[in-house]
C-alpha cells in the first residue's frame, strides 16, 4: 500500500514540475524576442512564426523537439540546446498566454 501511494505521489510531482510559469517565461524570453517579437505576435522576419496565443502543449512539444533534434532547425536547435525542461515549460506558458492573431478557421 505504501509503495502504491509513493507511486501515485510521484506522478503528481512529475506533473507539477512540468507546469510552466508564465512570469518566469517572460524573464527568459529576451533572446526569443529578437525574432518572435516581445509579445510573440510580431515576428521580425517573414518566415518566423507567431507564438502568441498558441496552445501551451504544442509550444512545449516544439521546444522539446528542437532540443532533442527531432525537429531539425539550426537556429532553434542552437537557441534551446542549453535550456532546461523548466525553461521550456516557462517559455511555452508565457507565449501561450499572450494575445495574438492565431485562431481556428475551417
Amino acid at each position: 500500500m505504501t509503495r502504491f501511494l509513493v507511486v501515485v505521489l510521484a506522478c503528481f510531482s512529475a506533473q507539477a514540475f512540468a507546469a510552466g510559469d508564465a512570469d518566469s517565461g517572460k524573464l527568459k524570453s529576451q533572446a526569443c524576442a529578437a525574432c518572435h517579437g516581445p509579445d510573440g505576435n510580431s515576428p521580425t522576419g517573414p518566415d518566423f512564426p507567431r507564438l502568441a496565443g498558441q496552445h501551451y502543449d504544442y509550444l512545449l512539444k516544439a521546444l522539446r523537439d528542437y532540443r532533442s533534434g527531432a525537429r531539425r532547425n539550426p537556429i532553434m536547435g542552437a537557441q534551446v540546446g542549453s535550456l532546461g525542461s523548466q525553461d521550456l515549460a516557462d517559455l511555452a506558458a508565457f507565449y501561450s498566454r499572450q494575445k495574438g492573431s492565431l485562431h481556428v478557421v475551417r
Binding site: P43, P46, D47, F48, P49, R50, G53, Q54, H55, Y56, D57, Y58, L60, K61, D65, A70, R71, R72, N73, G100, S101, L102, H103, V104, V105, R106
Partner: protein, 107 residues
Amino acid sequence: MRISPVLLLLACLPVHAQTVGNAEAAKGKNSMCIGCHGIPMYKTAFPEVYSVPMIAGQAPDYIVKSLQAYRAGDRSHPSMQGIAKSLSDQDMADLAAYYGGAGKAAK
C-alpha cells in the same frame, strides 16, 4: 553579337521568382487540413498527444517553411509528412495564403 540587357534581366527572373499563393485556390485544397486544424482544441492522438497548432493568422512564409520541413523529413509527424509529400509548391503557397490571410481578415 549584342545581348540586350533587358533580355538578360528577364532571363534571370524565373530563377528568383517565388511561388505566389492564391487564397481562393486553397479552398479546394484544404480538405486534408480541416479535419484537424479546423476543429478548436483538437488534439492529435498519434504518435503523441498534444493540441494541434492553430494555423489561421500564422505568417504565410512560415506555413510554407513548415510544410517543406515535413516534406523533407526535418519535422516528424507522420500524418503531416504524408500530406506535405502530396502537395506541390503551388499547393503549399495557396494554403499559406489562405491560412495566413485568414488572420488579417479577423483582425
